[in-house]
C-alpha cells in the first residue's frame, strides 16, 4: 500500500477522485483504502483536518527545524554584524565597551526573528513543494470549497470497482481523463 505523498502519478493508471462532504466519511474511506487493492495518492481538504492526518498516519512536520536553523543563524549574524561594524572604529567613548553586549543583543534578537521567518518560509516551500502548478493536475476545484477529495488510482479495467468503493463510502466521483 503506497501512501507516499511524493508518489509519482503513473500515466498508465486510471485516476478517480472521491469527493466527500463529511470529514468522518472521508477519514473512514482513507482507512478502508489501506486494505483495498487501490492506491491512494492524495487527500485534499478545504481546511486542516486532524482526523484525516491521523487516518494517514502522518508524522509531525519538519518545518520547525528550518525555523530553528534560521533563528540560530540570524542571532549570530546580527550580533556579528553589530560587533564587526563597531570594531571598524574602535574609539572608546565615555569608557564604554566597543563591543557592547546589551545593544548588540537587540540587533541579534531582531535578526533572530527575521532569519527564523526566512527559515520558516523556506521550510514551508520545500516541504510542501510549492510553488508548483503541476499540483493542479488531477485536482477537483470543489476541494477548496466544502469537499474532501481522495485521489486514488487503479489498474486499467478496475475503474468500476474503484468507483463502487467510493460510492459505497458516500462519495461523489470525478474521473480524470488520461493525459497525452
Amino acid at each position: 500500500m503506497a501512501l507516499n505523498a511524493a508518489h509519482k502519478l503513473k500515466k498508465a493508471h486510471r485516476y478517480i477522485m472521491g469527493l466527500f462532504t463529511d470529514e468522518d466519511q472521508a477519514a473512514a474511506a482513507v482507512q478502508a483504502m489501506e486494505t483495498s487493492a487501490y492506491t491512494l495518492h492524495r487527500v485534499h481538504s478545504p481546511l486542516p483536518s486532524e482526523k484525516l492526518a491521523r487516518a494517514r498516519k502522518k508524522k509531525k512536520s519538519m518545518v520547525g527545524w528550518f525555523t530553528l536553523t534560521g533563528g540560530i543563524i540570524g542571532f549570530f549574524s546580527g550580533f556579528a554584524l553589530a560587533a564587526f561594524t563597531a570594531t571598524r572604529w574602535d574609539l572608546v567613548v565615555g569608557g564604554k565597551p566597543i563591543v557592547a553586549l546589551i545593544p548588540f543583543f537587540i540587533v541579534g534578537f531582531e535578526f533572530t526573528i527575521l532569519f527564523a521567518v526566512f527559515g520558516n518560509v523556506i521550510g514551508l516551500l520545500t516541504q510542501t513543494n510549492l510553488p508548483s502548478l503541476k499540483n493542479l493536475e488531477y485536482y477537483d476545484p470543489r476541494c477548496s470549497g466544502f469537499h474532501y477529495g481522495l485521489l486514488a488510482s487503479c489498474e486499467p479495467g478496475q475503474e468500476d470497482g474503484l468507483k463502487q468503493f467510493f460510492t459505497q463510502k458516500g462519495a461523489e466521483i470525478t474521473v480524470f481523463e488520461e493525459k497525452g
Binding site: L52, T85, F109, V117
Partner: protein
C-alpha cells in the same frame, strides 16, 4: 463565536467573500480616484520639500522632530494590533479574531509601509538614505548599532518583512479558493498567486505548523518593535522622555490605536460587503472590550508619568509635567487624555459597545487621541527641556499637513484596492470556526 456565525455553511462563507470581488460600481472608482488625487497631492508636497529643502517643514531648533516623527510613531502603532489579532490571539486560540484577522493583518502591512516612508521624508536629503543601511560610507565609517535609531531601522525592516510574509502565507488557501471559482484572466492571475496550493494533506500539515511558528515569532517581534520605537525617545536624556515606563507604555498605546483603527475600518466594510453574519456585533464588542483594557493601561501610564515626576524630586521633570498639563500645548494633553482614556470608558456600557454608530465615533476619537499622544510626547518633550532660554514652539506647515494628508489617502487607497480585489476575510479560518462549532457542508 456566535450562533449566527456557526450556523454558516462553508459554501455561504465562500460565496459571501467571493461576492465582494465582483466588478465594482462607479462609486468605488470615484472613491479610488479621490484617494489617488490625495496621494498625488501628498507626493507633490514631498517633491516640493525635496527640491526646496526640509526647511519647508516647521521643525526648528530645539523642536527638530515634528509631524514626520509623530506620524511615523502613529503608523507603527496602528500596525501593531494587526499582529496582536492575527498572531497573539491565534496563539491564545481566541476564535473571535478569525473574522477580522485578515483585515487587521492587511492594515498592519499597509500601515508599516506608510510608517516606513516617514524616516525618508524626515531625512530631507532622501538620497543619503544609504547612511541608514549597514554599509560603510566614503570614510569607511559604518552605522552605529549602539544607537536606538539603528535598532529602529533593523526592527521596522524586520517587522515589515515578517508581517508581509505572514499575511501572504495566511492568504494562500484563500487565493486557491478564488482561483478555483474564477475564469479567464483572473483565473490565470490567481493561479500564479496561489502557488499551486490544492489543500493537500501535505500542504496543511506543513502550513499549520509553519503558521504557528509565524505567530510565535511575530508575538515577541511586535512587542520588541514598539519597545524599540519608544527607546528612540527614552534613551535620550530629555525630561519627559527618559523613563523606563516607555516601552510597555508605547506597546499598550500602539495596540490601543490599532484596535481603534480596526473598528474604524471594519464597520464600513461590514456594511458595504454585507459581512453582517461574519463580522458579528459580538466580534466588534470583543474588540471594544479590549479597547477598554488598553485605554485603562494607557491611562495608568499617563498617571504613572506624573507620579514618577513628583516622586523623583527632580525640578526639571516636575516642571515638564506641570507644563504638559497647563502649558501652551495643554490642549494636546487634554485631547489625549479625553480621547484615549475618558471616552473609551463609555464602552463599559453594553448598549454603547454594541451600537455600531457609537463604536465608530469612539474609534475615531481614539485615533485622534493617539495622534495627539505622540504630539505631546515628541514635540512637548523637546519644547520645554532643561534650559528656559532653549524652550521653543512648533507649528506644522502646509507642506507637513499636505504630506500627512497624502499618507492617510495612500493608506486608505491601498486598503480600498485590497478589499475589492483580494479576500478581505479569511475563508479558511472562518471555515475552521464553523467546523469547530460542529457545522459544515454545502
Amino acid at each position: 463565536m456566535t450562533d449566527q456565525t456557526t450556523q454558516l455553511t462553508f459554501a455561504e462563507i465562500d460565496q459571501t467573500v467571493l461576492d465582494t470581488l465582483k466588478p465594482p460600481g462607479k462609486g468605488y472608482w470615484l472613491v479610488i480616484l479621490l484617494l489617488f488625487a490625495g496621494v498625488i497631492a501628498g507626493a507633490a508636497c514631498w517633491l516640493h520639500q525635496i527640491l526646496v529643502g526640509v526647511g519647508l517643514a516647521g521643525m526648528n531648533n530645539p523642536i527638530n522632530w515634528g509631524t514626520y516623527l509623530i506620524n511615523f510613531v502613529f503608523w507603527v502603532g496602528i500596525a501593531h494590533s494587526g499582529t496582536l489579532i492575527s498572531a497573539i490571539l491565534h496563539l491564545f486560540r481566541a476564535g473571535w479574531r478569525n473574522p477580522i484577522a485578515r483585515a487587521a493583518e492587511t492594515m498592519t502591512v499597509f500601515a508599516v509601509c506608510i510608517a516606513g516612508l516617514y524616516p525618508f521624508i524626515h531625512l530631507g536629503r532622501v538620497w543619503v538614505v544609504n547612511y541608514m543601511l549597514p554599509l560603510p560610507n566614503q570614510r569607511l565609517l559604518w552605522p552605529n548599532f549602539q544607537s536606538p535609531l539603528m535598532f529602529d531601522v533593523v526592527a521596522i525592516s524586520t517587522y515589515l518583512t515578517v508581517s508581509s510574509l505572514f499575511w501572504y502565507t495566511g492568504m494562500l488557501p484563500d487565493l486557491a479558493v478564488i482561483r478555483d471559482r474564477a475564469t479567464g484572466l483572473r483565473k490565470k492571475i490567481f493561479t500564479l498567486l496561489s502557488f499551486g496550493w490544492t489543500g493537500r494533506l501535505e500542504h496543511w500539515r506543513h502550513y499549520t505548523r509553519g503558521y504557528l511558528f509565524f505567530a510565535a515569532l511575530a508575538t515577541p517581534l511586535v512587542i520588541s518593535v514598539h519597545s524599540v520605537v519608544s527607546w528612540d525617545f527614552a534613551l535620550g536624556i530629555i525630561p519627559g522622555w527618559h523613563t523606563t515606563i516607555f516601552a510597555p507604555y508605547f506597546v499598550a498605546g500602539a495596540i490601543h490605536s490599532g484596535l481603534a483603527m480596526v473598528i474604524t475600518l471594519m464597520i464600513p466594510i461590514r456594511k458595504m460587503f454585507k459581512y453582517e453574519k461574519i463580522i458579528t456585533r459580538d466580534v466588534l464588542e470583543n474588540v471594544a472590550k479590549t479597547i477598554i483594557l488598553t485605554g485603562m493601561i494607557v491611562g495608568f501610564a499617563y498617571g504613572t508619568e506624573f507620579f514618577i515626576a513628583w516622586y523623583s524630586h527632580n525640578p526639571v521633570e516636575q516642571e515638564m509635567f506641570r507644563w504638559r498639563a497647563v502649558g501652551e500645548y495643554a490642549y494636546g494633553f487634554w485631547i489625549m487624555v479625553g480621547c484615549n482614556v475618558a471616552i473609551p470608558m463609555l464602552l463599559f456600557f453594553r448598549a454603547v459597545r454594541r451600537h455600531l454608530g457609537w463604536l465608530f465615533v469612539i474609534s475615531i476619537f481614539v485615533n485622534i487621541g493617539m495622534w495627539y499622544e505622540r504630539f505631546v510626547i515628541i514635540v512637548g518633550g523637546v519644547a520645554h527641556d532643561f534650559m528656559p532660554h532653549a524652550w521653543g514652539r512648533y507649528t506644522p506647515t502646509a507642506t507637513e499637513f499636505g504630506i500627512m494628508f497624502g499618507a492617510f489617502c495612500l493608506f486608505f487607497f491601498l486598503y480600498v484596492l485590497f478589499a475589492k480585489h483580494m479576500p478581505s476575510v479569511s475563508m479558511t479560518e472562518m471555515k475552521e470556526t464553523v467546523h469547530e462549532g460542529g457545522h459544515h457542508g454545502a
